[in-house]
Symmetry: C2
Subunit: 246 residues, 2 copies
Amino acid sequence: VSDGTETVRLEAFASLQDHERGMLEAVAGPAIRLARGKTLRPEGERDPQLYLLASGWAASTIRSPAGSRQLLKIHMPGDMMGLPSLAYHEAVDTIVALTPIVVHSFPSAAIGAMFASHPRIAALLFLISQEERTMLADRVAAMGRAGAVQRVAALILQLHARVMRHDPATGDSFHVPIRQAELADLAGITTVHVNRVLQELRARELVHWSRQTITILDQPGLRALAGLPERTMVSEPDWLPDRSAA
Amino acid sequence: VSDGTETVRLEAFASLQDHERGMLEAVAGPAIRLARGKTLRPEGERDPQLYLLASGWAASTIRSPAGSRQLLKIHMPGDMMGLPSLAYHEAVDTIVALTPIVVHSFPSAAIGAMFASHPRIAALLFLISQEERTMLADRVAAMGRAGAVQRVAALILQLHARVMRHDPATGDSFHVPIRQAELADLAGITTVHVNRVLQELRARELVHWSRQTITILDQPGLRALAGLPERTMVSEPDWLPDRSAA
DNA sequence: CGACTTCTTGAGGAGACTCAAGGGTGGTGG
DNA sequence: CCACCACCCTTGAGTCTCCTCAAGAAGTCG
């Protein structure tokens, strides 16, 4: 993978060995560049591929029964994109660029080979998938019962946490290349209503969202409002296959 | 695992070899029996375990920010339960019995060992996780934009599909041990409203839900209403690690 | 045959939606 | 350097879905 400084997201759970990282780089395809707003691959495409986001932000979206789009996940550099579609013949989600992006594709066959030859990476990929499922579960819970203000509060906190994962020095004010229309599709409300919700969060002195810059004014208050569960991720589970395994 | 006739859900993707099945049976714990309504393990429990549901129906639930419960998934015999919690120190979801159930626990360490020694099973587990993530994604999309009637219609079709997976001979009328309160927590609406929605579906001659028996009256009409995407699952991907791998 | 759970019905209210128009902001080209 | 245009954000008014609260009917189990 071209950019040596990039952090592959697998390291969220356990850092990679040199030979493991080398294996990932060996199977990665050439860099693909995409302008903001462009679709990397549409929902329904046959024989979907896997992608690693090298730089920029992207999003996975899915079409809702009503026809509008639902944003499932924001992808940041180092994220693997397209894992869920591995279980299907057609791509499950559409991947669009939120900023100009650079991605590398992976052949599905490489994943199979990886399960045989690099069980530790496979297990880490597996754990990441469990984490993503959990984040979706939280979204389902929030969308089922929580009001729009709570949902948006939760999304802002989750964005903050994810941005901090990439840059631990992030303070209470940070940039996100997300427009209100996208926040709306993320929260499952209309753009118009998102706007009113943001104004309410501002009036309650919890968050200030302006020009793609989020400023968290009262983190405890925001947490209390969002009501997100506190969980601690396993970092390097002792049951992972041995690091030295070839 | 005690009951020889049970179908392990992994076979949804590719049938298991004898030695693979033997490995699963070897690490399974003793049978645990639970009465209807009892909690197998609560959300937040430390060092969560993995479980295989041998018989009966169960559900994974999560507490929503508003305090009410959200039903994430209905588990049927052969399902692995608790996979998402592997990525955390605390259990992510509560598992409750919808009927009297029998479960077997699995130590987490066995999963790690399995990635090293049985890559094919590991890859199948991985695929199942992707499928579950996709189902949650569909739920998010439905909850974000679809009305209550559509959501319930979609849930009924999904239940039908899953019951058919266990018993392909299932017709348009089938039994589900689910009360309206549970359907409400599944759809993210109130019990009162579920009742009215079911009446509407009945009035429109689409479905009849009575006494835990669902009768689909007009499947095409129901599908049109629900607007679920049509997807085909990979059955035995050619990129899976070799079946003969030890 | 009771006691409990589950389902059903009604009336009133709140949150979010739709439709529609106006105001900013940044980018591009003259 | 300014003018224009496209995109994004903001505001208002009216409507509808779904919720809340509350009570009563039916079903289920010992």
